[in-house]
């Protein structure tokens, strides 16, 4: 009967109740939607970056991080790669050689980062493959051929098939020159990538840097689901525990990206917290007003012998109903909107012609949200719990009233 009384009580002022429910729903829907968008963009960005760089998990020489250079290489035997690739959740492994050099043409020279890659692997993993604007991407039969960014091509006045020279130091510290030709030109939207980044087949890179057959600066592990990262990381660490190899998550390899995401997530949380606070303040006012309006009625209930605890339960139930309906509405609306963006995405190309880059990496202008059960339950549970906590003060007020004063 108390449940019935509470249910009917919230509907005695239908307009106010609807406004309250819509406020809860709107606030929660916005929170779910924007968090889902942010998480989707982070996931999409991380996926692109790790696929282009050294994977979700990177194996390398333990000394490499303290002074990244091509002479701090390690041997990644085929047997280790096959062992890793047999693990659940591992999509594939990729060997890379990362070094610095100078690209020269008749028109000038530019300091560049040269990445030696396995074309057959990158064809399946690297997003660069989809950004070719001239020529084509590399394949395993290519010898001294490279793909370069559109910015670099413009500065060195290079086109597909044109010659350029790469000057660098090999692992022994000798100055070396190698002639190569441009196989293709890519354009990612990132000034850093398009202007100062070159990819070459790993065989050519080994020759250039004078590395042995299985030598590389990194062995990247690309995962099917990023959520499996920690578990796979531990398994690989067990595999190489006897060897002098460091196994690192991408957050340690590209710390600037991890920091950026952490910072951005933090500022988003502050924004969401402010939004939720404003909405909760409205809800608090509604519940308090509803209680203050019914002081006489509560006095009658107390006079009839209602225990204060039962009266508190009635008010709590009213908040439970408001919270449940509001949260359900918010989760359905916010969840569906976010799900639609997850499936179809939002293309911001027309608004962001210049593109967006974070720490030199281009972010896709087609945003996809990422809705998870955890996000829905977490935000819904938080708003619901906050609604209940907000009813504590009105509950207290209702049972502290003077029966005589109210009935006078």
């Amino acid at each position: 009967m108390i449940a019935r009384l509470a249910w009917r009580s919230i509907w005695r002022n239908r307009r106010r109740t609807l406004i309250t429910i819509i406020s809860i729903g709107f606030g929660l829907a916005c929170t779910v939607f924007f968090i889902a968008i942010a998480e989707g963009v982070y996931a999409q960005f991380i996926d692109q970056v790790v696929r282009m760089q050294a994977g979700h998990i990177t194996l390398e020489n333990p000394k490499y991080r303290s002074g990244p250079a091509v002479d701090i290489w390690f041997e990644a035997p085929e047997s280790l790669r096959s062992q890793i690739e047999r693990l659940d959740q591992v999509e594939r492994t990729k060997l890379i050689i990362l070094g610095q050099g100078i690209a020269r043409s008749a028109s000038g020279d530019v300091s560049v980062t040269l990445m030696g890659i396995e074309p057959s692997v990158e064809l399946h993993t690297s997003p660069l493959v989809h950004h070719m604007v001239e020529g084509r991407y590399l394949d395993n039969h290519d010898g001294p051929w490279v793909v370069i960014g559109s910015g670099l091509a413009k500065r060195l006045k290079l086109g597909v098939g044109k010659k350029m020279v790469i000057t660098t130091n090999d692992t022994a510290g000798n100055l070396v020159d190698e002639l190569c030709r441009v196989r293709g030109i890519f354009k990612t939207g990132s000034v850093e990538i398009d202007g100062y980044f070159i990819q070459a087949p790993i065989v050519f890179a080994r020759h250039l840097f004078d590395l042995p057959r299985e030598g590389a600066t990194q062995l990247g592990v690309v995962l099917r689901t990023p959520q499996a990262q920690e578990a796979v990381l531990q398994k690989i660490r067990m595999m190489v525990s006897e060897q002098d190899i460091a196994v690192l998550p991408w957050q340690k390899v590209i710390p600037e990206i991890a920091s950026y995401i952490k910072l951005d997530r933090g500022s988003n949380l502050i924004f969401q917290a402010i939004l939720i606070f404003l909405i909760l303040f409205t809800i608090f006012n509604t519940i308090l007003m509803s209680v203050l309006e019914r002081q006489r009625e509560f006095a009658v209930l107390l006079a009839l012998g209602t225990k204060p605890l039962l009266l508190r339960l009635q008010i709590l139930l009213e908040s439970v109903y408001l919270g449940l309906i509001g949260c359900a509405l918010g989760l359905v609306v916010g969840g569906l909107a976010a799900w639609a963006v997850q499936v179809w995405g939002i293309d911001l190309r027309s608004l962001l012609e210049e593109g967006i880059t974070i720490s030199g990496f281009a972010v896709s202008t087609k945003m996809h949200a990422r809705v998870t059960i955890g996000l829905l339950l977490g935000t819904g549970g938080l708003v619901f719990a906050a609604t209940l906590i907000l009813s504590l003060i009105p509950m207290h007020r209702a049972t502290r009233l003077s029966i005589v004063d109210q009935l006078r």
Partner: protein, 228 residues
């Protein structure tokens, strides 16, 4: 008969300093079970204060108050709630029904507080509503009932738990004289047939005449106590 209400030298003061008001000044009163007692007096004479103190809604400044054999000054808030729930029925001047509950549910509420099973309380409420002449109106909300009908629901709510004492604060003040007379007839009948003790305040001469005992209050003192 045993006393259901016993007051000894009960005083009640409000405010302090220059604003100090003596609402009751040493009231002594005994009410036996089964009485049909009215209390009359001008506004501010202390009628409502006396009802509130007997009903455990307010505490006296000094003096001893016993209701149904229990000294209410010594009872905690929870014990007072239980005393009101189980032994005292209230009828208010402005009915004070819960607007979102039907007539049946309003009367049922006290039985729910007592933990009576739904089937039993529904049966008892239907009988009580029939008793007060509201058969067929059980599912109407207070706004769908006339003032007299609402007060009948309030009477049913007050007697439903078979309390030892029913306190009524000017129960006929908000209804026309015909309805007031009918309500008083009902209360009197419940008193005579079921032995319910009624103790009520009134302004109206017609109501006073129907009481078997009439107390007259002025300035917080009972100055006249006569049986009819």
């Amino acid at each position: 008969m045993a006393n259901i209400v016993s007051l000894q030298k009960v005083t009640k003061d409000y405010g302090e300093g220059d604003a100090l008001t003596h609402a009751l000044r040493g009231v002594d009163l005994m009410v036996e079970a089964g009485e049909f007692t009215a209390m009359a007096g001008p506004s501010g004479s202390g009628k409502s204060t006396l009802l509130n103190i007997i009903g455990g809604l307010d505490r006296p400044t000094a003096g001893r108050v016993e209701v149904d054999g229990r000294e209410i000054n010594t009872l905690s808030k929870t014990e007072l709630s239980l005393l009101r729930r189980d032994r005292i029925g209230f009828i208010f001047q402005s009915y004070n029904l819960i607007p979102v509950l039907t007539a049946l549910e309003n009367a049922e509420y006290v039985l729910m507080l007592q933990g009576i099973p739904t089937a039993e309380r529904r049966e008892r409420v239907r009988e009580a509503l029939k008793e007060v002449g509201l058969e067929g109106l059980e599912n109407r909300y207070p706004r769908q009932l006339s003032g007299g009908q609402q007060q009948r629901v309030a009477i049913a709510r007050a007697i439903i738990s078979e309390p030892g004492l029913v306190l009524a604060d000017e129960p006929t003040a908000n209804v026309d004289s015909e309805t007031g007379k009918a309500l008083l007839d009902l209360m009197r009948r419940l008193n005579e047939e079921k032995g319910v003790t009624f103790f009520f305040s009134t302004h109206e001469e017609a109501v006073m005449k129907r009481a078997r005992r009439l107390l007259r209050l002025r300035d917080g003192v009972i100055f006249n106590d006569q049986a009819h």
